[in-house]
Symmetry: C2
Subunit: 254 residues, 2 copies
Amino acid sequence: MPNYFIESADEAYSRLAWVAYFCLMSISQNIKVAVDAVVFGYVNKQLQILLIHPKSEASKDIWALPGGFVRDQEGLSAAVKRELEEETGVQADYLEQLYTFGDQVNRDPRAQVISVAYFGLINPEQVELEANTDAQYAAWFPINQIPDLRFDHKKILQMAHKRLQSKLLYQPIGFELLHREFPFSDLETLYQTILGKKLDRRNFRKKILSFQILDDTGKKQKIGSGRPAQLFRFNELKYKELLNKGFHFDIQFA
Amino acid sequence: MPNYFIESADEAYSRLAWVAYFCLMSISQNIKVAVDAVVFGYVNKQLQILLIHPKSEASKDIWALPGGFVRDQEGLSAAVKRELEEETGVQADYLEQLYTFGDQVNRDPRAQVISVAYFGLINPEQVELEANTDAQYAAWFPINQIPDLRFDHKKILQMAHKRLQSKLLYQPIGFELLHREFPFSDLETLYQTILGKKLDRRNFRKKILSFQILDDTGKKQKIGSGRPAQLFRFNELKYKELLNKGFHFDIQFA
C-alpha cells in the first residue's frame, strides 16, 4: 500500500524520475515479446510434434511452432495456452517454460522479437480430438521427419527434445503421453522411442515397478496374438507422497 | 536470400500484411523486457548473493537484484552482462538463463515488464576485486540474511537458490565458486553450505575422488593447527572428456 502514496519531496522526485524514464522507454525500447510452444504427442507409437502452417506464408512450404505475440495485460503462460488453443485446438496436459530465445537480435527478420518458449505434452485422447477441430493448418510430424521451420524454431525444437529426453530420466512425465490405463509394453516403447535407444527390458521393468508408483488396474488387454497384458495406471498421489519423503525418481540405464 | 525479394503478388500481399501487423503491434504491445541476475559467491565460508541499492529509491531500505532494461539491438545475455558490470563492477564466471518471470502482469507496479532472470557464479578472486570498484551501491549478503527486495526479486532469488542446490548434485559447478587451487575441506564446506546440511565426510571424499576430475597440485597449505592439506585443482578438460564418453556426474547423498 505505502508504495502508491508519496510521502516526501525526495520520494516525489524519485517517482517523477521513474515516470520520465518510462515515457522514454516506451519510445526507445522496441522489442516485442512472443511465446512459442513445442508440444509432444506419442502418436502411432512415434514421438510427434505439433506444427502449424502460418496462413500468411501459405504459398510456401514453411511450417512453424504454434505461438504468437503476448497481449497487453496477459501473462506469459496464459498467452501460450491461448495461442496453442487458437492455432491448434489443443490444450496441453503438461506445460512448462523451456527457455527464452533472444540472444540473436535478428532471429525474426521483421523486428527484434524475443520468444519465451514452452514445452508441452499431450495425451492420446487429445491427439485424436485434435483432428476434429477446425484447425486446418495444424498437423503432427514425427520427430525424425520435421520439415523446414520458420526463424530459429528448429533450434527451439531441438532444445525441447533434449529436455524431454533428460526429464524422462528423473521425472515421471512419460505418463502424460500415454493412455490413462496402459500395458507395460507401451511405457517401454515410449521410453525407447523418446530416448532413441534399445533398453534392457527386464531391468527397465524391474526398476519402474520397484518405485511402486504404478497401480495394477486388474484389467487386461489383448495385444496381437500374445496372452492378454495387465493394464497399469500411474498413481500420481503416491508419487507425490514419495517425493515429500525425499524419494528420488532416477532411471539411469548404463 | 530469397526471403528478402518479392516474387509474386501473393507474396507481396503477405509481406504487406506483416508490415501492417507490425505497425499495429508497435503501438499495441506495451510490454517491456528486462534482465536480472542472481549472482552467488562463496564469501567468508558463506553462500552470499550480490545485491544493489537502486539509486532512485535510495531513501528507502529496498535492495534489488542487479539488472535493468534490454537495449534495442542488444541480445539478452549481452544485456545481463552489461547491467551486471555497470551496477556491480563484476563479471560472472558462470552465467546461465534461469527463468522468465512474466505470469504476473503487475509484478512491476510501474508497467508490464517481463524479466529474463539469469543465475551466475563468481569466484573468490572476483569477490575480493569487487570491493575495489566504484560500485558503491553493490554489496554481498549471506543467503540467510537477505533484506527486503524489490518487486518479485525474492521469488527469483529463491528459484535460483534451488537451481544451485540441484545443479550441484549433477554438474561440477561448485568449482566456479572456489579458488583455483583448494584444499579438499573447502569443497566439502562449500557443498555443506549450499545444500544446508551435514555430509558424511568420508563418503563425500571417496565419491568425489572416484570421478578422477581433481588433480593433486603437489602443493600443500597450512590450515589452522592441523597438518598441511593437499591442494587440488579441478580438471575441466578431463571432465569434458568423460562427459563425451557418457560419464554421469551424480552426487546423491542418502
